[in-house]
Amino acid sequence: MKLTELANPTRFLSYAGRLLPWLAGATALALAVGLTQAMLAPDDYQQGATVKIMFVHVPNAWLAMFVWGVMSVASLGTLVWRHPLADVAAKTAAPIGAAFTFLALVTGSLWGRPMWGTYWEWDARLTSMLVLFLMYLGLIALWRAVEDPSRAARAAAVLTLVGAINLPIIKFSVDWWNTLHQPASVMRMGGSALDKAFLIPLLVTAVGFSLLFLTLHLAAMRNEILRRRVRSLQMMQASRAEAA
């Protein structure tokens, strides 16, 4: 299957309809296995039972950034290749990305209180994640403010690509500045610093949340294509009524 084949919305709907039940099943299975492993993981020698929060906080934080990355690639698709489904992909990923970012902030805050003694600190990692959340909300507002999807798509694509500057800032904030947030312990030079007892459940839950994103994104893209079909049919009906 080529990317150009998916440029046809009807073909995309057909593929999505066939894929979604399998993706939903794989998501449920991966999350069930990952979260069971997470519950059975031992307490950390320093953080005690609060280490359990890591299994939801870290995948949400990874996906918060990954989804913006997906939107950035889709924005290139809109501006450079003019792929008909690129703006559909970008628009529908934004609310899902906002939800993951919100969860990363909330679970991070709930982990921070017992470990740092505070729910919130204006340090580089936390602040740059909050900026990411606000950028998601800004993009959603932009999509809602402009009625014509193709006009909204170009403005949103530019904003998304400018906003991508925040991704390396989030990733390297813990190295560039002195922050309360710990440095990277999974994706780092020299391998993971996590013990297998924590690393394996973390990776399985991360796969589960990634599959969840894929499932929700595909379903939301299908809805957006149907919404545009409704819009074009309504416009055709209105122009016919005007001509009659």
Binding site: G48, A49, I53, V56, F102, R229
Partner: protein, 57 residues
């Protein structure tokens, strides 16, 4: 089960579950809404440029 940190751990998982359920509800309800709108349009005689049914994939 989680000792003195139970409130923080349970709240984290509960928040995640609520937001994930809201996302699932959003895509399922939106799908039903768009399909219903397409069915209404088809009933009122609207036809796609290709001539295919409005609800056809």
């Amino acid at each position: 089960m989680f000792g003195k940190y139970a409130d923080f751990i349970v709240s984290s998982y509960a928040a995640t579950a609520i937001v994930v359920l809201l996302l699932i509800g959003w895509v399922v309800l939106d799908y039903r809404k768009q399909k219903a709108r397409l069915r209404d349009l088809e009933a009122s005689g609207a036809v796609r440029r290709s001539g295919r049914s409005a609800t056809d994939h």
